[in-house]
């Protein structure tokens, strides 16, 4: 369980994180989403105990990071941004060092070491020096280090940054597999990641929490939510006919590929009517789609609105 309570951090005159309150329960994967420089990493660094909050506090499994930092850190697995590690060590040496610093019991340590190495597929590279590894491998070593002590809370700062699609997929599988009984906080600026991983999203910009919802709820805010788009060969569909459907608010035609998007009035289903119309017009529809909503559009809309306006 992670709770942040009015977490604030100033660098001189700049407020990097502004009174951020969040909480995530076991079983949740909470995605911190925001543009670069939004304060995601700063917030995570405070929760991890690396930075001291200017005001406010955070709790990891009920342990206050300011009053009981060691207990909080014991419950936490953390992958810092860029997955820093000691470049001159081999992967094995690095993980053994982590085991020693965390003071894991001998038999637990052996079991966890084997499990983590297997899960992150590090068997073949254990004796390689970390400094010579590829970016993707380094990230996996960082992840291995974070889950080594089987923590109830995981905090991953851009866990798939710099990974190729296959590696991204395997890291997401890993996070998914661990999500059931753990609390996981990940930061990202990749919207696809939100779909793939998170069951809740917190959007922050300029250090402030602007939205806290499920991905579906966010998509529902999109003007594309419930819209119907289709590509029809042959004669151009008359926009007027579509616009005359009672619940249709607007019709747009992509000037490049001729794809038609029909927007509904707020919350009204229009798929059936549009399909019926297309049938009566005898149009050859090659593909028709009911839009769920576009996260990127909602993200842009939320994060670019002027400061002070509430989402």
């Amino acid at each position: 369980m992670i709770e942040a309570e009015r977490l604030t951090r100033c660098y001189g005159p700049l407020t990097a994180v502004d009174s951020l309150s969040l909480s995530a329960e076991p079983g949740q994967v909470l995605g911190l989403l925001g543009p670069n420089g939004a304060g995601k990493s700063t917030a995570m660094r405070m929760i991890a105990g690396f930075l001291t909050p200017t005001s406010g506090t955070a709790r990891v499994c009920g342990h206050d990071v300011r009053k009981a930092p060691l207990a909080a850190k014991r419950a936490l697995g953390y992958l810092p941004e860029g997955a820093p590690s000691y470049g001159e060590m081999t992967i094995r040496e690095f993980l053994v060092f982590m085991i020693r610093v965390r003071g894991l019991e001998r038999d637990v340590a052996f079991r966890r070491f084997d499990e983590v190495v297997m899960r992150l597929e590090l068997e073949d590279v254990l004796e390689q020096t970390i400094g010579t590894l590829s970016k993707g491998l380094r990230r996996r070593v960082g992840l291995a280090q974070a889950i080594l002590h089987d923590p109830p809370v995981l905090m991953l700062d851009e866990p798939t940054d710099g990974l190729d699609p296959n590696q991204k997929h395997s890291v997401r599988m890993l996070i998914d597999a661990m999500a059931r009984e753990r609390t996981i906080l990940i930061s990202t600026h990749l919207l696809e990641e939100v779909h793939a991983l998170c069951n809740r999203v917190a959007i922050i910009a300029n250090g402030r929490l602007l939205a806290d919802a499920t991905p579906a709820e966010l998509e529902a805010r999109s003007r594309y939510h419930g819209a119907v788009s289709f590509s029809a060969a042959g004669s151009a569909v008359s926009r007027e006919m579509l616009a005359r459907i009672p619940n249709v608010a607007n019709v747009e035609v992509d000037p490049l590929d001729g794809r038609v998007t029909v927007f509904p009035r707020a919350g009204q289903p229009i798929l059936d009517e549009v399909q019926a119309l297309l049938r009566t017009q005898n149009l050859e529809v090659s593909e028709i789609q009911l839009e769920r909503g576009r996260l990127d559009e909602v993200f842009r809309q939320i994060t670019t609105q002027p400061r002070g306006a509430q989402a």
Binding site: A48, F50, T52, P69, L70, K73, Y78, P80, P84, V101
Partner: protein, 244 residues
């Protein structure tokens, strides 16, 4: 405690996987030997002791210890591993102590490796090995004080070069401050009591006292107080940097 040892072990190991340790050892041993035999009147004095050898140590440490300590925290900060280290269940004091112990142990190893000089003097004459032992202890304590100063400077700056220069400067002042010429210089402008206090601050004076074979409690207290104070300052600096 296991965390302190884990950190100390990693650091000490870190010296030996990079060329740092070997370069340092070779230079230290060569210089210690050369300076003792050529500029230290080792033979001409006609005495079977290691006094000229130990007399050189403050000046060797002045150049070499800052080179060992300059990367201690500065590099950790530059490479981002500081964030990793401080997200582990380790207090800042434990981390500082661990790194200090590693550097101190490393200098200890270098001192042990000077044993051929000790064998030489035993072959040539009949020295008081108790005094020789005390000389080693004094030298090692002095190295500890220098390392603690270097630790503090390394926490204060991201730049290794600045850490090196600051460490060397502070150590230089602490070496000079007890020299008669320096104290004479301040004779007219500073009250005599303060002159005495300045003399007591001198690292060389306490190290020499121990090197004469007298393990006086006051000298031991001096070194442990110096080491503790600088390490405590390091902890404070590191903690301050988390809030800024």
């Amino acid at each position: 405690m296991s965390a302190v040892l884990a950190i100390a072990r990693r650091e000490l190991w870190g010296y030996f996987v990079t060329p740092v340790a070997y370069v340092f050892m070779v230079i230290f041993l060569v210089l210690a030997g050369l300076l003792t035999f050529y500029t230290g009147d080792f033979y001409d004095r006609g005495l079977a002791d290691l006094q000229p050898f130990f007399d050189m140590h403050p000046w060797l440490y002045l150049v070499l210890v800052p080179a060992v300590t300059m990367s201690m925290w500065a590099e950790e900060r530059a490479s981002g591993t500081l964030e990793l280290l401080f997200s582990l269940p380790v207090t800042i004091s434990q981390a500082v102590l661990g790194k200090f112990l590693a550097a101190w142990a490393f200098i200890g190893i270098c001192l042990v490796l000077t044993f051929p000089i000790w064998i030489t003097v035993n072959y040539l004459g009949d020295p008081d090995n108790g005094v020789v032992m005390a000389g080693y202890v004094g030298s090692w304590l002095m190295a500890g004080a220098f390392i603690a100063i270097g630790t503090c400077m390394s926490t204060a700056t991201r730049s290794q070069i600045i850490a090196f220069i600051l460490t060397a400067a502070v150590c230089f002042v602490l070496l000079l401050i007890g020299q008669p010429q320096v104290l004479d210089f301040f004779q007219d402008s500073v009250p005599p009591k303060l002159i005495g206090a300045m003399g007591q601050l001198s690292i060389a004076r306490h190290a020499n006292a121990i090197a004469r074979g007298v393990l006086d409690l006051r000298d031991l207290v001096y070194f442990f107080a110096t080491i503790t104070a600088w390490l405590a300052a390091s902890v404070v600096v590191l903690d301050l940097k988390r809030t800024r």
